[in-house]
Amino acid sequence: MGGTDALLAARLAAGDDHALAEVFDRFGAAVYGAAAYVVGTGAGAQDVVQDVFVELWCHPDRYDPDSGSLRGYLMLLARHRAVDAMRSELRRIARQERHYRLSSDERPPSPGEQVLSAHLASEVRAAIQRLPAAQRQVIELAYFEGMTCREVASAVGIPEGTVKSRLRLAHAKLEAVLDRQLLEAP
């Protein structure tokens, strides 16, 4: 039969759950490592790993053995999912921040919520403050002001590609902050 990756892909498409277990045994640690590199070794990384393997199992035809290795495909998927998870978390925190800033007349948060949100916010703010100025600026504009990459590029006067690379670098540094407690916060 075809090469190992092509055979695994064909088996997955045929509904062979043994093949899925084999793929996990072979590449699970690498996928977990790729996820943990971005979001830290916590529940977030485990969620990313689950997303990656569910995606592979439900859509095995999206992997083309002629285009590269299965390991490479899974690692790419893991990095994308992990970055998505981090962006989503940052947006959530930013929304929460804006909400508390703009709605001071609404029901005040409970003492528990206050403690938790204050803790989370201070953790994130502290981490952002530790970023180099150039990275901090793009993070604040993108996530706290809600600007797109193009708008940030225009506001700062730098190419859009530079905005994206600074965001990537900033994400990598912030990953230490997004630990399990943060990701599981309401």
Binding site: M1, R11, A14, G15, D16, D17, Q50, F53, V54
Partner: protein, 296 residues
């Protein structure tokens, strides 16, 4: 483990596999092929054979096909089978135990010297009569048991067997005429692989593999799927003894169309491109038994 790898949390594997199975049941192929009725599978297989026969030049009709039959004789054999199918649907006991080849040989040899167009028209008429009878039965009628050429099975299964035979003989004819082999459309092949998988344990038992045994069968490509087959399911590990050995277990992965050619006895286990794990002797025995399902 490389530097980029981390120790995987102990329960993550089980969690990932469970979540995956919830999202898509094991055994379910993707992309899913459109489901069709057994009657439609039979009709499509007959249409495909008709198209192949219509494209033959006159000389091809007299080329050797199978056994002692040329292409024209083989089409005559198929006309004979249609006649027997119609008799079995009328509960004629004479065809229930009749031999598949012997019972149709007269229709086959009768074609010698005839105009191939007449042979083709006669077969086409026979197929139309079968389709008319099947349509008259309605959906519920497909579950009626019928007996033909030593087989006792529901009409719906017989129609898939017939689709199987038409495809196999289409390829016999293509081979005789020097044409490339055909693969059934995925919806037809899906019914054929499911039937072959269902009949496999019985074939294994008849071939001297009484079990207990388990087989994880994976047929790849459009029309394939995955089956966990078990025979002697009464086997109980609590009461296992020397006389009741632990079940032989194997996994066979093969191309769906290739496996169907094996089941049709048009390919040997050695010729089948397969990937085997587990008990290799058990797997080899099953593949040999699979070829005994052929009617010819």
């Amino acid at each position: 483990m490389t530097a980029a790898e981390h120790a995987v949390p102990p329960d993550l594997r089980a969690r990932v596999l469970a979540a995956s199975r919830r999202a898509r049941a094991a055994g379910e192929p993707v992309p899913a092929v459109p489901a069709i009725s057994p009657a439609e599978a039979y009709r499509r297989a007959a249409d495909a054979l008709y198209r192949a026969l219509s494209a033959l030049d006159t000389a091809a009709w007299s080329r050797p096909a199978i056994r002692d039959l040329d292409v024209q004789g083989l089409v005559g054999h198929l006309t004979g089978v249609e006649d027997d199918v119609q008799r079995c649907m009328a509960s004629d006991p004479a065809v229930s135990q009749a031999g598949h080849v012997e019972s149709t040989q007269a229709a086959a040899v009768r074609q010698a010297g005839r105009d191939p167009a007449l042979t083709l028209a006669e077969w086409q008429d026979a197929v139309s009569r079968t389709l008319t009878l099947v349509a008259a039965r309605g959906q519920d009628g497909l579950d009626t048991g019928v007996a033909l050429h030593g087989m006792q099975l529901p009409l719906r299964a017989l129609l898939v067997v017939r689709a199987f035979e038409l495809w196999v003989h289409e390829n016999d004819i293509r081979q005789a005429a020097g044409l490339p082999l055909a693969v059934p459309d995925p919806s037809v092949l899906s019914l054929m692989t499911a039937l072959a998988a269902r009949l496999l344990p019985g074939a294994a038992v008849r071939a001297g593999m009484p079990g207990p045994a388990r087989l994880h069968l994976v047929l790849t490509g459009p029309g394939g799927g995955t089956w966990d087959l078990e025979w002697d399911p009464e086997w109980d590990p609590e009461t296992a003894s020397a006389g009741r050995p632990y079940p032989a277990e194997a996994s066979i992965v093969a191309d769906a169309a290739g496996f169907c050619r094996l089941v049709a006895d048009r390919m040997t286990p050695a010729e089948l491109d397969s990937y085997i794990s587990g008990d290799r002797d058990h797997a080899a025995g099953v593949l040999t038994a699979a070829a005994t399902l052929a009617l010819d």
